[in-house]
Amino acid sequence: MAETPIIEVRDLVKHFGSVIALNGVSLKVSSGEVLCLLGDNGAGKSTLIKTLAGVHKRSAGDFLVDGRSIDFESPRDALDAGIATVYQDLAMIPLMSITRNFFMGREPLKGFGPFRYMDMKRADTVTREEMHKIGIDIRDPQQAVGTLSGGERQCVAIARAVYFGAKVLILDEPTSALGVAQTSMVLKYIDLVRSKGLGVVFITHNVRHAFAVGNRFTVLNRGRTLGTHAKGEIAMDALQNLMAGGKELQELSGELGGTI
């Protein structure tokens, strides 16, 4: 690709004391593409995205945003640079309303000086509109997030990131806790976000979900990237084996009657 990737990391290393969580990770994300980050439990996926999101500082390696080397001091810096992360826990507060969650930390204000207050009407309208765009009808934006289904919550979290001008969206296992219908809702939404020109980093265990929306696949194993493959270049099975670290998954799968 000729254009500069929005995010590029080269040989990224991250230590936690004596634990080496990342040991040479390289990847690129450009706008309008979905990069799937695949890897088994403990491979370092969450550590990697937390480093991209400004939660952790890298121990070594290069981290470029729009071609320029960058150091984030806090998640706020990453947000300001257009990198929005939807964590596994979604950063949503079940007791608060959808609107209050949607605008948490970035409340729209009205009025002057010390008398500035939240523009609740606008907040409600925007929340309803943004959710409507992705096909979720919220009748009452004041209802608590706790009453939404897992998939709907995931969509609210993504919609929030998109609304606040993310250039890159990082999603940590957005489909791991979802049923079939909800998964397809989230996957559809990921594709919609990509078609709008955002870059998406989609983290998952599930090769099938990755294949549904991914343009390229980066496999992470024991803190290292095992290379990146474009969609047409690799079969689902091969990817699955790569993810399992070369172990013959077929064998296991065979023993279990082909259910994996």
Partner: protein, 372 residues
């Protein structure tokens, strides 16, 4: 309440969502329980208490203790919604009372300076509480429990030092005599209005034309204004949203860019300042301060906040609920004197109210969050 399915009726509504009933709207309001409780208590006393309880004079009798507690309870409620407790609230009243009184009678400061110093101490105590909680990550329950003892002890030691061995400091009335500033913290407010109402036969008056009730206790004015302000702050401002977020899930709030530590520090300072305000009001009222001032007020404030709908786990509650919770307290405390019932039932009532409120809040929380 899922809305993702495309099954819609003719009006385009999702068939799986019932139209929001009045009940759903109501139950979503944290103060519902407190309002219901207040109605119950009023009905109870209408039946069992002498009718003089609900005269204007009787109501003012209720307002004084209700307001003193209410100022504390609203502060405690904001802090609880922000996810923390302050058990040092009661001791802080005694400590602020000592500082305030000592500034007046030992250091001979003008009233304005004494008030300023008392609030500066609140700023320091609140900040210290908050910083310890934030930096150690310990539950505020434990940290402020330590300050419950530390501040009470400091008050005792300080009182003996200031008074030369006693546990009481007197002579405050003489020092503030004739100060207009004192009028903001003691006596009655709205006296002009009451005189006018008496003159127009709207309220009871003595034969000489003066109203039988000369005004509203000044703490009631503070109480009402603070309740209105806190409610506006919580429901309508950015900071209010941050309070809910910090108490609901501090990590999620941080990840969304909410300055959680700043919010919590502010709230600890606000509760300490509430204690200080109550200290100034009660010290000016009594003309002295002593070591037992504010004793166990932290529990009463927390109970009033819980009756007002605050969850012990944070992230949910209301200031106006704490307002009603405090009215319930004042009404029962004073109301029992208008009945033949033994006054010590007050404590039994207090404990029972707390239990009922906690159980009720739990149910409401499950309704609100859709937990099953």
């Amino acid at each position: 309440m899922s809305t993702i399915y495309d099954v819609k009726d003719k009006l385009g509504r999702d068939e799986r969502v019932k139209t929001s009933s009045l009940l759903t709207t109501l139950i979503r309001k944290p103060e519902l329980g407190a309002v219901a409780g207040l109605v119950l208590v009023i009905v109870f006393f209408l039946v069992f208490a002498s009718p003089t309880m609900f005269t204007l004079a009787g109501i003012m009798n209720i307002m004084a203790p209700a307001s003193q507690l209410g100022i504390l309870a609203i502060g405690a409620a904001l802090l609880m919604i922000g996810g923390e407790f302050d058990l040092s609230l009661g001791s802080m009243i005694a400590f602020a009372g000592l500082v305030f009184a000592a500034a007046l009678v030992v250091w001979h400061m003008p009233l304005a300076a004494a008030i300023l110093i008392a609030f500066l101490v609140a700023l320091v105590v609140g900040t210290v509480n908050a910083q310890i909680v934030i930096r150690t990550g310990l539950p505020s329950f434990i940290v402020t429990l330590a300050f419950l003892f530390i501040l009470r002890g400091l008050t005792l030691v300080g009182l003996k030092w200031a008074s030369g061995g006693a546990t009481q400091l007197r002579g405050i009335k003489d020092v503030v005599e004739g100060s207009t500033l004192a009028g903001f913290f003691s006596g009655n407010a709205l006296e002009g209005l009451f005189a006018w109402m008496a003159a127009h036969d709207m309220i009871d008056k003595f034969p000489n034309g003066l109203p039988k009730v000369s005004g509203v206790p000044v703490e009631a004015v503070w109480f009402v204004l603070f309740a209105l302000f806190a409610t506006w702050l919580l429901l309508r401002t950015k900071f209010g949203n941050w309070i809910f977020a910090s108490g609901g899930d501090a990590r999620a709030a941080r990840n969304s860019g909410v300055p959680v530590n700043r919010v919590k520090t502010t709230l600890f300072v606000v509760t300490a300042a509430c204690a200080t305000l109550v200290a100034i009001i009660t010290v000016l009222d009594a003309g002295s301060t002593d070591a037992r001032r504010g004793f166990q007020k932290e529990f009463e404030a927390i109970i009033a906040a819980v009756i007002g709908g605050c969850l012990l786990t944070g992230g949910y509650g209301s200031a106006i609920g704490a307002f009603f919770g405090s009215l319930i307290f004042g009404m029962v405390l004073i109301g029992l004197t208008y009945t033949t019932i033994d006054q010590d039932w007050y404590l039994v009532f207090l404990g029972t109210m707390l239990l009922v409120a906690v159980v009720f809040n739990n149910v409401v929380r499950k309704r609100v969050t859709g937990e099953r």
